[in-house]
């Protein structure tokens, strides 16, 4: 139990590792993540990789939507831009995969800046519609700029390699995913307690007031778009080299909505929430597939219902979380934690 956890300075209050207790459990988590690939089977490793990609993307989107309050329905388009940048650099220009990751991020960030420009004039609903339009326009470009993207046939991408060692299995790729996830989370966690992070939150709470207290809206709104798109671009580069192929069908509007769902279910404006959301929303379809397998063995022919049921549950999760727990899983986590900390008192 944690007692007497008082802070005397603001620096202390803003610390990431607030107590020995937190450090201990993070250490345990880290050890678990290191041991995990040696004990898990192929399927679990596949899920772990998927969760990793989801977490990076969700943390990035949360910086834009959760912290800065700029809703974006075009996250999948940025992931696509990152993916295509990496694929084209690797296959056409002979870049190594490792060098293509930052470039994928930068190109996506540049696209994010362009899409972010309307955010200076329009906000809320209108911005949401503008990013929706961007999503469709980029999808169109992926399909129709055939000389660059190969259209619907897509591009085959070789697996990443270091000095002849190829990251071509689930287990080997897991290490790449793990390192990038850790870097992404640490950067985001530090960003939100910096001057820039506070500016983001001020813009979210009331952009006009933020401008009056001297926050440069132009600079910070565009930074939020660029950083979030950079994250998306990195996810794109990782994801396509994991899949070894890229086609326009990988980046539909539904993917953007999935990422928004992750941060809503996880908790808007919380890095931890984005992580929870990424894990949760990746696990739900897998659990449903598992259930479909059980139903198949008991009632053959009935399992077809699970395909649309995924959509129904996905939609219902969004609605129910928004109505009953708008602050998401992160808030539930906090409540559970404080229940144990304060027990037997209620607060």
């Amino acid at each position: 139990m944690r007692c007497g956890d008082f802070k005397e300075t603001y620096v202390k209050d803003e610390e990431i590792f607030q107590s020995l207790f937190v450090k201990f459990w993070l250490g345990v988590l880290f050890v678990f993540l290191i041991i995990f690939p040696f004990v898990a089977n192929q399927y679990l490793l596949y899920i772990a990789n998927m969760i990793g990609f989801a977490v990076i993307g969700a943390v990035g989107l949360n910086l834009l939507t959760g912290f800065t309050g700029q809703i974006s329905l075009g996250h999948a388009a940025f992931i696509g831009i990152g993916g295509y940048t990496s694929a084209i650099l690797v296959t056409r220009l002979g870049f190594s995969f490792w060098l293509s990751i930052p470039f994928a991020g930068l190109v996506a960030a540049a696209a994010g800046l362009v899409i972010g420009i309307p955010s200076l004039r329009v906000k809320g609903l209108y911005l949401c519609i503008a990013t929706l339009a961007a999503q469709f326009i980029f999808e169109f470009i992926f399909v129709h700029w055939e000389s660059l993207t190969n259209g619907i046939t897509g591009i085959n991408v070789p697996p990443p390699a270091i000095a002849g060692f190829e990251f071509n299995t689930e287990k080997r790729f897991y290490w790449i995913t793990l390192v990038v996830v850790i870097l992404a989370v640490i950067y985001a966690r530090n960003l939100v307690r910096s001057r820039m992070g506070r500016a983001f939150m001020a813009i979210r709470d009331r952009d006009l007031s933020a401008e009056i207290i001297g926050i440069n809206l132009f600079r910070y709104k565009l930074s939020a778009f660029a950083i979030s798109s950079f994250y998306a671009g990195v996810v794109g580069a990782l994801w396509i080299s994991y899949l070894k192929v890229i086609t326009p069908e990988h980046f539909p509007l539904l993917l953007s909505i999935e990422y928004l769902a992750m941060i809503i279910v996880g908790g808007l404006g919380s890095v931890l929430g984005a992580i929870f959301g990424g894990i949760f929303m990746t696990l739900v379809p897998e659990i449903l597939s598992f259930l479909a397998g059980i139903v198949k063995s008991i009632l053959p022919g009935r399992e077809a219902i699970f395909e649309p049921l995924k959509n129904v549950i996905f939609g219902l999760l969004i609605i129910l979380f928004l109505i009953f727990e708008p602050r998401g899983l992160a808030e539930i986590w906090n409540r559970v934690k404080s229940f144990f900390r304060l027990w037997p008192f209620s607060y």
Partner: protein
């Protein structure tokens, strides 16, 4: 030259249908400030309900139409009560996302009931195309346009002259003043959802009749966003004129740009229009310019 006129006439007919669906968006937005992104799924549901009544019960079209309207009213009221009412006063992202979630849920449910197979609509209108001399309009589009225009006119008349319509306009104008005049604002919210759902479901019947129906026809609903942004989110006249402009521009794109890029430009054209409008005139042609105070 002939083909140009033909394309423009087709564009006007398509635009009329867009106008009707856009009216569905505007009716809801004006009273409740909610942009319903599930509109496409409402449309699809309308088409499916009408289709099922027509094909399973062998009912005449007017009966199927009436039943669809009843469904629309029930759906609108239920959605407003269960989903939107708890979110009054929440940030805009919650409201947008809840309508997206609603759309996905509805789509999944329709997928379960009707399966994703593509179906063509039973013959409900006389099949002869309309000969205008300088252009020909296919039967589905022509009768669809008549239906859409009739529905639009009726909605506008209700909005202008009926008691409910006046109450809806009052609520849109100033909620507090409306409340103090004894108008049940909550009732009006539900009512505008009913009307919005009805407008989109009629639109769904018309579009289903032209293109055939499947679970995925709701994507047109998002293209209509270009119409309402062009016209202004809260303007009924804007919805109609915007519908015509987008309909014509879309068909012209199909004629001139599609051959250049190898197809598909027709469906993405509304979004290009949308981005342009947002850059130049974000509140649309007729929309109310929002002035913010801190």
């Amino acid at each position: 030259m002939d083909i140009l006129i033909q394309v423009i006439v087709t564009g006007i007919a398509t635009g009329g249908v867009y106008g009707l669906i856009a009216l569905g968006f505007v009716l809801i937005y004006k009273a409740t400030s909610v942009l319903n992104l599930a509109m496409g799924e409402f449309m699809t549901l309308g088409a499916f309900v009408c289709f099922t009544v027509l094909s399973q019960l062998d009912a005449p079209f007017y009966l199927a139409f009436a039943l669809t309207l009843v469904c629309a009213f029930i759906l609108g009221a239920v959605v407003e009560r269960l989903v939107l009412k708890p979110l009054i006063g929440e940030p805009i992202i919650s409201v947008i996302m809840v309508t997206i979630g609603l759309g996905i849920t509805l789509r999944g449910i329709m997928y379960m009931i009707w399966t994703p197979t593509f179906r063509s609509f039973p013959q409900i209108f006389p099949p002869e195309p309309l000969q205008l001399g300088f252009a020909v309009i296919p039967s589905g589009l022509w009768w669809g346009l008549i239906l859409a225009v009739a529905a639009t006119v009726i909605f506008i008349l209700i909005f202008k002259f009926s008691r409910i319509g006046v109450a809806m306009r009052a609520t849109a104008n100033d909620q507090q003043a409306a409340l103090s005049m004894g108008i049940s604002v909550r009732g009006i919210f539900a009512m505008s959802w009913c009307f919005g759902a009805a407008a989109s479901m009629i639109g769904g019947i018309v579009i289903g009749n032209i293109n055939g129906i499947s679970v995925y026809m709701g994507d047109v609903g998002l293209q209509v966003l270009a119409v309402i942004i062009l016209g202004g989110l809260d303007s009924i006249a804007g919805a109609i004129i915007g519908g015509l402009i987008v309909g014509i521009l879309q068909n012209l794109t199909g004629l001139y740009i599609d051959p250049l890029v190898g197809g598909g430009a027709k469906n993405v054209a509304p979004y290009f229009i949308l981005v342009l409008i947002l850059m130049i005139r974000p509140y649309g042609l007729f929309g109310k310019r929002i002035i913010e105070r801190v």
